[in-house]
Every structure is written in C-alpha cells, then in structure tokens.
C-alpha cells in the first residue's frame, strides 16, 4: 500500500445528466486486477472517466504516480489506456488503422500521417488483432462494415497496443459470446501470456457477468455513485451482491 498507482481522494462529480459520484476514495496499486460491479447508472462509467482524466471531478483530487493529473506530461498520461463502453472507434477508418491509432502516443506525427494514408506498417497491429481472435479477413475492413463483437475486439486491441501500465475497461465483454468473453478476459488479466504481447499489469474492469469474476483479486461494488464495498475476491459473499443489485 505504500505506492499507489492511481489515487482518488473524496472525489465528487455532478453534471446535468445526473451521473454522480459522491465522495469516492480509491487507491489502485500496481498489479491489482479489479472488477467493478454495479447496476447500470451506478456511476461506473463516470468513475472510469475520472480515473483516466477525461472528466475532472467537481471536488476532490485524482493522482497518478503521486502527481496531480494536470501536472502530468503526455508520456505519463499515456500509461493509462481505456476501453470505452461505447468503443469510440473512428468510423470511416479500417480496423487496422484504428488499432494503429493506439500507437499515436509513442510515435511521431509522420506515423499518424502514414497510418491515415494506409502506408504505415501494420505488423504490430495485426499481431494484437490476432491475439484478440480477429480474423485476417477483417483487418482492412471499414469499421462501419464489421459486427458489434468484432468492433469490441478492435477496441480492445487498440487499447492493448498502447502497452500501458493501467488498463481501464468499461464493460468490454458486452458484445462477445461466452467463450470469446472468457478468452478475452483471460487475455486482459494474465500479464505474461503465450502470445508474447505485453498486457497492463494493473487492470480495472467493470462488468455485469458474475461468471467472469475468476481471476480478479479485488472487487469493488458501486451503487448510486458511492462505493458500497471494496474487498478481496476471496471475501466476496452473496449478500454483498444482493446489496448492489
């Protein structure tokens, strides 16, 4: 507990749409695999947005590597990657170009340019896409033209290719069939795997499906913008779940 990666202190957030957080405090340490549970509208997405710095809390402070978010440089910020609930891929671009976008943090503007012109190298992107069970045939397909589950995996590949330290994922298994879902979950949770790709060692994944809780070592339950429980996987009891659902 001496050196938290991410730290929220008494964070409150309120906006017009009433997605609220109420005095949430949270510490995430290196190597933790956290599952975030809660009903729809409990504040999971807001929490994730605050964790990755997309929205600023009205009150309280967010620290990454013990530094205020505003004071981080781009390199430090790029240590967080996010899989959004609504994916947020760039339509009009192909799947592989979208995955390559994940490399923008490490590459120069020339790379961005080449990527758009479709003349950059896609080797790395292909490697990550294959890991995510995407077939070769869809690599160069336009995002508009692939199915929901395929899009989901493209988004996952895009976040993995960033090779970040922390992965925040907002319901990443939504569009996947049960077998794929558990495959992907294993991929996200196991640091070193046979594919020799680097997976962030710290993860926070929000999810609904309780059958996928294996492999996590910490469970956080949320309700109405507050954290109801925050405990180790082994201590999770049935009544905890009843409280939040």
């Amino acid at each position: 507990m001496n050196n938290p990666l991410l730290e929220l202190k008494e964070v409150s957030y309120k906006n017009k749409n009433n997605f609220t957080l109420n005095k949430v405090s949270l510490r995430i340490n290196s190597g933790e695999k956290i599952a975030l549970l809660g009903k729809s509208g409990a504040g999971k997405t807001t929490l994730i947005s605050i964790l990755n710095g997309t929205i600023r809390p009205n009150k309280g402070s967010v620290k990454l590597f013990n530094t205020e978010f505003d004071k981080l440089n781009l390199y430090q910020k790029s240590k967080i990657s996010t899989i959004w609930q609504d994916l947020r891929l760039i339509e009009d671009l192909s799947a592989e170009q979208n995955v390559n976008c994940g490399l923008l943090g490490k590459q120069s503007i020339l790379f961005a340019f080449k990527n758009l012109l479709n003349i950059s190298s896609f080797n790395k992107a292909h490697q990550y896409m294959q890991v995510c069970n995407l077939k070769k045939s869809i690599f160069s397909k336009n995002i508009r033209k692939i199915s929901g589950g395929q899009k989901q995996r493209v988004a996952i590949a895009r976040s993995l290719i960033q090779e970040s330290d922390i992965l925040l994922a907002d319901e990443p298994f939504n569009n996947l069939d049960p077998k794929l879902a558990s495959n992907i979950k294993n991929l996200l949770l196991i640091t070193k795997n046979k594919n020799k790709i680097k997976v962030p060692c710290t993860t926070l994944i929000s999810l609904h499906r309780l059958d996928l809780l294996d492999g996590f070592n910490r469970i956080i339950g949320m309700k109405n913008g507050e954290i109801l429980f925050d405990l180790e996987k082994t201590k999770l009891k049935k009544f905890h779940l009843n409280k939040i659902y």
Binding site: T54, I80, R88, D92, L104, K106, S108, I109, A112, L117
Partner: protein, 500 residues
C-alpha cells in the same frame, strides 16, 4: 392540438410558407408581353449558333475557364480545409487554445464570405491593376471562406466521445488532430469538394471581369446584346465542361486508389499549397501597388448617404435574402418528395442543372418577360438558382447514404413517400440544413449582382456607387452586407443550439 415541434426536418419544409406572399405578388404582376423573346430564348437553346469563329472562341475561353476554375478550386479547397480546421472547436480543444481566437477568425471569415467575388475582383483591381492572377485570387478569397465554413461545420459533427477516446491515447497533439480529422475531411471532400469544382467553373461564368476572364466574358457580352443563339453556344459549352469535369473526377475514387498514388497525391497537394502561398506572398510584396487615388476622401463619410432610402434598401435586401433562402431550403425536399420515382428524379436533375447553368442575371431577364420587376421576382430568381444547387447536394447525399432504414420502413408496409421521408430524408435533414445555412450567406452576396435590373435592394446601390467610384459609399455598403451576414450567422447559431 399539439404544438408544432421544430426539428431539422420540419424546418426544411416550413420555409415553403414564403411562397404565399411570393405567389401573390407574382400573380398580380403577371403579363405575357415578352412571350416572343422567351420563345426566341427557348428556340435558341435548341439551335445555338455554331460556326468556325465561335467554336474557336469557345474553345479558347473554355481553356481559360478550366485553368482559372481548376486552380482556384484547388487552392480554395486546400486553404478551406486549413481554415476550416482553424475555425472548428476541436482544434482549440485539442491544442488548448483560447476560444476567442476562433470567434475572431469566424467573424473574419464571415466578412470575407459576404462579399461577392466580383466585388473582390474590382477592389483588388483598384490596387493591382488588370492582372490575370486577380481573377483567380478574387474567386479564391470568398471560396476559401465558404469552404472553411462547410468543413468546420462538418468537423464539428464528429462525435465528441471519439475525440475523447483518441485524446486519451495521449499522443502528440498534432497527430491526435490529424487522426481525428482525416476521415471526415476526406468524406466532406468527396461529397462537397468535387461539387465545389462545379461552383468554381460556374463562378468564372459570372466573374469574367478581366482580360482573361474565361467564358464569363463571352456569356456576359452575348447576353448584354441579347444574342441568345450565341449565348446558348457558350452556355452549352460550359455545361459540357461541367459534365466532363464531374465524370473525370468521379473516376478518381480516393478510397480505391493505390497507396503509391495516394502518397504522390498528398505530396502534390502539399506542393500546390506551398506554391500558391508563395505566389500569394510574391503577389502582395513584389507587385507595386498602385496608389488608391481616392484614398484621401475614403474616411470622410457622407452621412447624408445613410438616410431613409438606405434603410429601405437594407430592409429590401434582408427580405430578398429571407424569401430566396426560404425557396432554396424548401423546394428541393418538397419536389423530391412529390416526384419520388425514377423519372421524377431525372426531371428534377435536368431542371436543376439548367437553373444552375443559367447565370441569375440572365434568368431574371427571362422572368421579367412575364412579370413586373419586384422583390418577389428577384427572390424567385435567386431562390430557384440556389434551390437548384441545394437540390443537387441533397440528391447526391441521399444517393450516397445507406438505405437500410428506408428498406426497413418499406418492409413495415409504409408508403413509398413516407418511408422516403422517414427512412432517408430525416437522417439527412441536419446536414442539409447546415449546407443551406452557408447557402444563405451566398444568397446575401448574390443580391449584390442581382438587384440591379429590378433595382431592388442594396445591390443596386452598390453598383451605382462602384460605377461612380465613390469608395466611401462602397465601404459602407460592404460593411452593411457583412453585418447582415454576421447577424444571419448569429441567428443561425441560435436556431441550431435550440434544436440540439
């Protein structure tokens, strides 16, 4: 009863109400005294003058037109994209720049847009004399501003969530920016940029101001002497050019081209922009500007000038703009809705092509053969010309659009017209309105060249002041034009923010 709810689709249909006063005024002023001339005009269309001499002139003028139109189109697209990005919110969001810069730039662009290219040409000519490049620069100046507006408006349509997600990757700001903007810009370029080429070609038809003015010179002169057969030879030549250039550009499909071609394309674009920029600087600094000999009395404003009459003209101009914008917005969807089958659409395409082709001054003269000069007549002329343009955009956007929802509606057993309305048009309504908004800017500046015959609005006063070389008046009028445009823009923004 439910209150009428305003949404993009209803707003596109509502302006049809302007037809009530229009039809009334046109109806009471109707006469058929000019039937002979009209017959002559129509017959000449089928029987243009063709002989060696005229074909020779035609080819020569077309060559000039191609050159002027193509270069001004390229330059205005490239700089339109650049300024469009500069004046879009994303740019300031990603680079964390103060937003007032954007407002300032927008104001500046509106000012530039609201002044007709012919007027720009005349003003530049006062400073630089008769010069071939003025023709191009005069077209480019307002076109850059127009393109900038269209591009920035479409760029604002990018889903803000996508912006956040790419921002989250935390790459260099500039690479984030181009990654986000690339696809939309290419998309707009496909839908809109190619169509701008047609505009540029048509614009040279109005512009023909200077020695090497392209086909506009010929059209204007033959129209001036009412030499209809000659006029049609030139108009058909222009039509031919527009069609050919469109077909050629269609072949150039950006998404299917090879990588090598794309790279060279980008390099070429880069070179052209560098080249035109350096040309611009060369032009400004190397050419000795001729002293504006009336500059001294430029600031001694004649306050008598801004009198009751001036206010009346101003009011007329505003009414004229509103009426013709109403026609330009509402006619295309209504006609497409009514004539919603293959033959009907083809008829609309042909008619709108003709209305685009015939320059508004010619159109108004022909309409005057049946009607007395009035605001309504000027409004219907401008309105029809612009409706022809908006209908083209609407048709091509509808054509490019995914028709999933249309098919879904039809499979529910909804009538063809209703399913067109809800399955195709509703989706398109928002961007159609955005195009119309910028069209209204163009209508404002077109009143400058149209108001003369019917002596309606400020256009007449502008011509009179220009031809008397009364620059202090010209400046007042131009500022009035821009203020109309700016106010229009503000109202537009209000409507838009109320809709969303």
């Amino acid at each position: 009863m439910n209150k009428l709810k305003l949404n993009p689709s209803s707003i596109t249909f509502l302006p049809i109400l302007v037809c009530i006063p229009l039809a009334y005024e046109l109806f009471i002023n109707f006469h058929i005294g000019g039937i002979e001339l009209f017959k002559e005009f129509i017959i000449s269309a089928l029987n243009p003058r063709i002989n060696n001499e005229i074909i020779f002139t035609l080819v020569k003028r077309l060559n000039e037109t191609i050159f002027i139109a193509f270069s001004s189109w390229l330059v205005s697209i490239i700089f339109g994209v650049i300024f469009g990005i500069f004046s879009s919110e994303i740019f300031y969001k990603i680079l964390n720049l103060p937003i007032f810069l954007k407002r300032f730039l927008n104001l500046f662009l509106t000012f530039i847009r609201s002044i007709h290219e012919v007027i720009w040409g005349l003003i530049l000519m006062q400073i630089y004399g008769i010069n071939f490049s003025i023709g191009i620069i005069a077209i480019c100046i307002p076109y850059v501003a127009i393109n900038a507006k269209v591009f920035s408006e479409q760029i604002e349509n990018i889903n803000p969530k996508t912006i956040e997600s790419i921002k989250q990757i935390n790459g260099i700001k500039s690479s984030t920016l181009i990654t986000l903007l690339w696809a939309p810009v290419i998309e707009i370029f496909k839908n809109f940029g190619l169509y701008r080429l047609e505009c540029a070609i048509r614009s040279t038809a109005v512009l023909g101001l200077f020695g090497v003015g392209g086909i506009g010179t010929s059209i204007f002169l033959s129209f001036q002497t009412l030499n209809f057969r000659e006029l049609w030879t030139y108009l058909w030549g222009l039509a031919f050019l527009i069609i050919i250039s469109k077909e050629l550009l269609k072949k150039l499909n950006l998404s299917k081209t090879s990588k090598k071609f794309l790279t060279s394309f980008v390099i070429a674009l880069f070179c052209i922009s560098l080249f035109s920029l350096s040309f611009f600087f060369y032009f400004i600094f190397n050419k000795n500007a001729i002293p504006f000999n009336s500059i001294n009395n430029l600031w001694i404003l004649n306050f008598n000038f801004i009198s009751y009459d001036f206010l009346k003209l101003l009011l007329e101009t505003i009414v004229l703009c509103l009426l013709s914008t109403g026609i330009a917005i509402s006619f295309p969807p209504i006609f497409i809705l009514i004539l919603n089958n293959k033959i009907g659409i083809t008829i609309i395409r042909i008619i709108s092509f003709l209305f685009r082709l015939i320059p508004p001054p010619v159109l108004i003269l022909i309409l005057l053969m049946f009607n007395d000069p009035s605001i309504s007549l000027a409004a219907i002329t401008l309105g029809l010309h612009n409706a022809a343009i908006t209908s083209k955009l609407l048709l091509s956007n509808l054509h490019n659009q995914d028709n999933k929802q249309y098919i879904a509606m039809k499979s529910l057993g909804v009538a063809k017209r209703s399913s067109w309305l809800f399955g195709l048009f509703v989706i398109q309504a928002n961007s159609y309105l955005a195009y119309c908004a910028y069209r209204s800017d163009i209508i404002i500046r077109e009143t400058a060249i149209l108001g003369v015959i019917g002596s309606v609005g400020l256009g007449w006063q502008l011509q009179e002041s220009l031809s008397s070389f009364a620059w202090e008046e010209v400046i007042v009028i131009l500022f009035t034009y821009s203020s109309i445009a700016i106010i229009g823009e503000l109202i537009n923004g209000k409507i838009k923010s109320n809709l969303t």
